[in-house]
Symmetry: C2
Subunit: 250 residues, 2 copies
């Protein structure tokens, strides 16, 4: 029987700038008696990675530009927050209602450039990691050093979607895995050659992990066990980003 198991890693605790997430994971695993296996994929909430990397900004130290003040007024957002969002963005894609949809310097199209006020402390915001593939590789390396196991790592965040209500978690960085499963050209049981069969499995794994993480439960790491993921040493979240020239919605 095909079977997938996800379990939350508890006891990571508050994460501070300079902490090694890989080390914290190994310690928490040991404390819970969890032995990682080679095919495990660890999903790590972006928030703790950003904290460990010091990607935090105190809003009262931000000087908003005229554009940030203007947008803030239009969108009913704090001007200092808008300033931080704009500094994390290379392009504003859409504004409307209270929404500010941008393309980040990494190439993610998302609300507020992933800048987030929740679970970080009042007056503070967390930015996305500068290079979350790199962050994921560091976590993977530390786990490998400490346990000898070469797991896959996904760093996840909650992104809104076009057309549908609510967020679904996606990968913002990853290491050691191929993020898509491309079955184009293979035939189904009737001999039909598949045309559109590219599954964004790293995003689906991130979404699955969110069910265990929740938003307020303090479970920032989830171990996904039983998925036969394709290993890829130089796997990158950029494989999940549609080039602008092929995108009909920006």
């Amino acid at each position: 029987m095909k079977r997938l198991e996800l379990f939350g890693l508890e006891g990571i605790g508050e994460v501070n700038a300079g902490d090694s997430i890989g080390a914290l994971i190994c310690v928490a695993c040991a404390r819970q008696g969890i032995e990682l296996v080679v095919d495990d994929v660890l999903v790590v909430a972006q928030k703790i990675v950003s904290k460990a990397e010091g990607r935090m900004v105190r809003l009262d130290g931000v000087e908003p530009s005229a554009r940030a003040r203007q947008l803030g007024q239009e969108l009913d957002k704090q001007a200092e927050l808008v300033e931080v969002i704009l500094s994390e963005s290379r392009k504003v894609i859409r504004t409307g209602g209270r929404a500010l949809i941008v393309e980040t310097h990494h190439g993610f199209v998302c609300a507020n450039a992933g800048v987030d006020q929740s679970n970080v402390g009042l007056g503070l915001v967390a930015l996305l990691p500068k290079d979350a593939d790199h962050s994921a590789r560091e976590i993977r390396r530390e786990i490998q050093t400490r346990t000898g196991k070469t797991v896959g790592v996904i760093i996840s965040d909650s992104f809104g979607r076009a057309w549908r209500v609510g967020t679904a978690d996606v990968a913002v960085g990853l290491a050691g895995i191929k993020p898509i499963k491309d079955e184009r050209g293979l035939k189904d049981r009737h001999g039909y050659k598949l045309k559109a069969a590219v599954a964004a499995i790293a995003d689906e794994i991130a979404s699955a992990a969110e069910l265990v993480m929740g938003k307020r439960d303090g479970v920032p790491v989830v171990i996904v066990r039983g998925y036969e993921i394709e290993k890829k040493e130089d796997g990158s979240v950029h494989e999940l980003l549609r080039p602008e020239a092929e995108d009909l919605f920006r």
Copy 2:
């Protein structure tokens, strides 16, 4: 420890028009020695629901309109297929490359109105169920009648996304569950009042289940166990569809 388990239900076999999916699920469960529990959510691939409901069209019986021929030529798609897609749509949202993004009569924004040629037999296409919430309720009722258990049901399909490569499975119909988890207004551990905390958990569950289903593996039903889903008798996929007036991308 928070824990989620997904397992594929094997042995459903080929599904034919008139079959009861609920009955097939119960028989397959019994054969595999699986006893459903009340909090289980069953994710059922749209394809078998469409087959059971006879939502199949033979392309060589379709007479394409002039518009379908024109679009077919532009998009390098068979005119008969385009005709079927248009008949399932209330609006064309975007065309470009080989993509035809529409709004279906149900209100889904997706490629090709969900009309699909894979895993159905050569020359045939499967349409989405007419009302997949209704389909899900029927499955739920049949399982309740046969086992006494009131599970949740999600009917899933693979949808492409704006901005990102590949498909992620989402709910196209559901029964017995609340599809979103809305934590807006609750406070995080630091006292910050959450603003954007609406998670599309039915879509995340569908995505998780896709990891077990795969595209070609013939596992059209996945049992998701361990998620404390909020029950809702009149839950509907329409709660997941962003009203056009609030949508920045159509």
